[in-house]
Amino acid sequence: MSRITFRQAIKDALVLEMHRDESVILIGEDIAGGAGCDGEDDAWGGPLGVTKGIFSEFGAQRVLDTPISEAAFTGAAIGAAATGMRPVVDLMFNDFIAVCFDQVCNQAAKYRYLYGGQDSIPLVLRANTGAGIGTASQHSQSLHSVFSFFPGLKVVVPSSAYDAKGLLITAIRDNDPVVFLEHKLLYDRVEEVPDESYLIPLGEANILNEGEDITVVALGQMVHVAMEAAENLKGSGVNVEVIDPRTTSPLDEETIIESVEQTGRLVIVDETTPRCNFACDVSALVAQEAFGALKAPVRMVTAPHTPIPFASNLERLYIPDSFRVETAIRETVEYKR
């Protein structure tokens, strides 16, 4: 066991899997960094330093830097996955899906089904996600719902170092294309993590806090916002059950529904616009499957329907905070027809 950061946990998972299976390769822009330059090889290790040191250990056959060509290198990763390799692609920012949308959503997602099950695409696509460090509208989105929309993809949104390592190892061993989204604000979070390999199954939610009064479902960085709200409300006698689905596709519907059937109340916290997002997805699920148990309308706490602003005060307004979550919880608990 070691106390390590989320960033280190991800690197550990990659290194363990690269040792275990030589068809696991890393592909991405500056995933090592320094290619062709006079200075340090392995200069960057990805834009946020996650993969630093891996190139030195495994070399250029296993760690492939690319030109700025998301469509080509993602397409190549798909072709390689279809023919026997297990690539882990670093897309840097999940916003860049826009420049390789065909590859991810028309090629990777559909390859197996379209061709009648002849192939599998054991591909992992890592990208960072989320707002909070002033990277503005083209580098701060949380696009997990966009990926979840497409059958054929799996989508993982870890909220802790422990979860990240176990989920990434599972994702790499999974034989389908998995989008693995790392919230920017999580990279420095420290936690006790086993040194060995371990697997957390996809489609299994984590219940971080048990409570009988209300269910709060949250993803990624929003899990910590929800936990803060739950902690703050303890004194008022409101017991909040906090559920972290960990993966939006597959989604652990059973845990969410079971919880709402106990509590009768649901708040969903999602750092996205209010349209067509994960919160809407869960709301509809609960409305269909647990309507009878509901004592109050389902509430979503989301960002506003705007692109993400740059100015720090505006960015703070954009991101859901624990005060907004507490307000939503209180109002839901106090609701009477």
Partner: protein, 324 residues
């Protein structure tokens, strides 16, 4: 002068080209009768390209293509019957009825498929080439891309990437005269076969209605890839006999254009005349093949429309390989 290619290779090539031609001609007739579902894009007239390239490929080499895939599939070794069943969306089609004409694909012969992402095959082929380079001694990947598709960004990206990574891949641009309803030369700035030079790879241009020219032109490029000397570009200039899709009225073409093509630039006629005049094969041998193919095509077209559809419980099968 007798061809350096063996009789077996020549007859095999003729058989494939004849299969494609008869298959596509018959498909044209069936489609016109209203019996064929979806979009169909026919390859008749272009046979020498795929068959000439595939004459150098084995089952260890990968082929990725574009939406106009029947000819590519048959050239790579997919049985014609399985292609036909797929076009009709039947359970025994090469993709179980899930793909249709535009997406025929057969992993067992490493045909990575026709693709509606018309340029996407260029990137997929790079991936297959990466696997070939990592895991095999001299297997390679070939992308067969239309000249219209060649203008997509992903194709230039793929050529650049192939060069930077030194991949054993061959980009073959089948310039069949038209990108949908637009003339090739209008949509292409410069010359396609010279685009490779911009990315540091050799480019060759070849007459696409002559099997022997194609086979000869592509040989050094394939050898280059096998020796891990890097990627190349081949532009094959030809014209398709049919429309962009079946149902295309083709009013954008000149009045006698297709008639002239069929009489003067038919690769099957050219093959027959070249091969027999050099006494590499006999007319009788070619005629025998013609008859066999006619019978085979007749037979598969009789049974395919009656074949079983995929069962309803297959609707959500094979979306994922691992548990969901």
């Amino acid at each position: 002068m007798k061809s350096p290619l063996s009789k077996e290779v020549l007859l095999n090539a003729y058989r494939k080209m004849r299969t494609i031609r008869s298959f596509e001609d018959r498909m044209h007739a069936e489609f016109a009768g209203g019996a064929v579902p979806g979009f169909v894009h026919l390859y008749a007239g272009q046979e020498a390209s795929a068959v000439g390239v595939c004459a150098h490929l084995s089952d260890e080499d990968y082929l990725a293509g574009t939406h106009r895939g029947h000819g590519h599939a048959i050239a790579k070794g997919v049985p014609a019957e399985k292609v036909l069943l797929e076009i009709y969306g039947r359970a025994d089609g090469v993709c179980g009825g899930f793909a249709g004409s535009c997406h025929v694909h057969d992993t067992s012969v490493k045909y990575m498929g026709a693709n509606s992402g018309v340029g996407s095959g260029a990137a997929l082929a790079c991936g297959a080439a990466l696997t070939a380079k990592t895991k095999t001694r001299d297997a390679i990947a070939v992308a067969l891309i239309g000249e219209g598709a060649a203008n997509q960004g992903v194709v230039s990206e793929a050529m650049n990437l192939a060069s930077v990574w030194q991949l054993p891949v061959l980009f073959v641009f089948e310039n069949n005269g038209y990108a949908e309803a637009t003339a090739a030369y209008w949509a292409i700035a410069g010359d396609l076969w010279k685009r490779g030079e911009a990315f540091g790879m050799p480019g060759v241009c070849v007459e696409g209605h002559d099997f022997f020219a194609v086979v000869e032109a592509v040989a050094p490029l394939i050898a280059r890839a096998r020796k891990r000397q890097g990627p190349s570009v081949l532009e094959v200039r030809q014209k398709r006999f049919y429309g962009h899709f079946e149902g295309d009225a083709q009013t954008y073409r000149g009045a006698d254009e297709v008639e002239l093509l069929r009489s003067q630039r038919d690769c099957l006629t050219n093959f027959a005349s070249t091969a027999t005049s050099s006494e590499s094969v006999s007319r009788a041998e070619l005629s025998r093949i013609d008859v066999q193919i006619e019978e085979m095509v007749e037979s598969i077209y009789r049974t395919a429309p009656e074949a079983e559809m995929p069962s309803a419980d297959r609707l959500d099968a094979d979306i994922y390989a691992s548990d969901y």
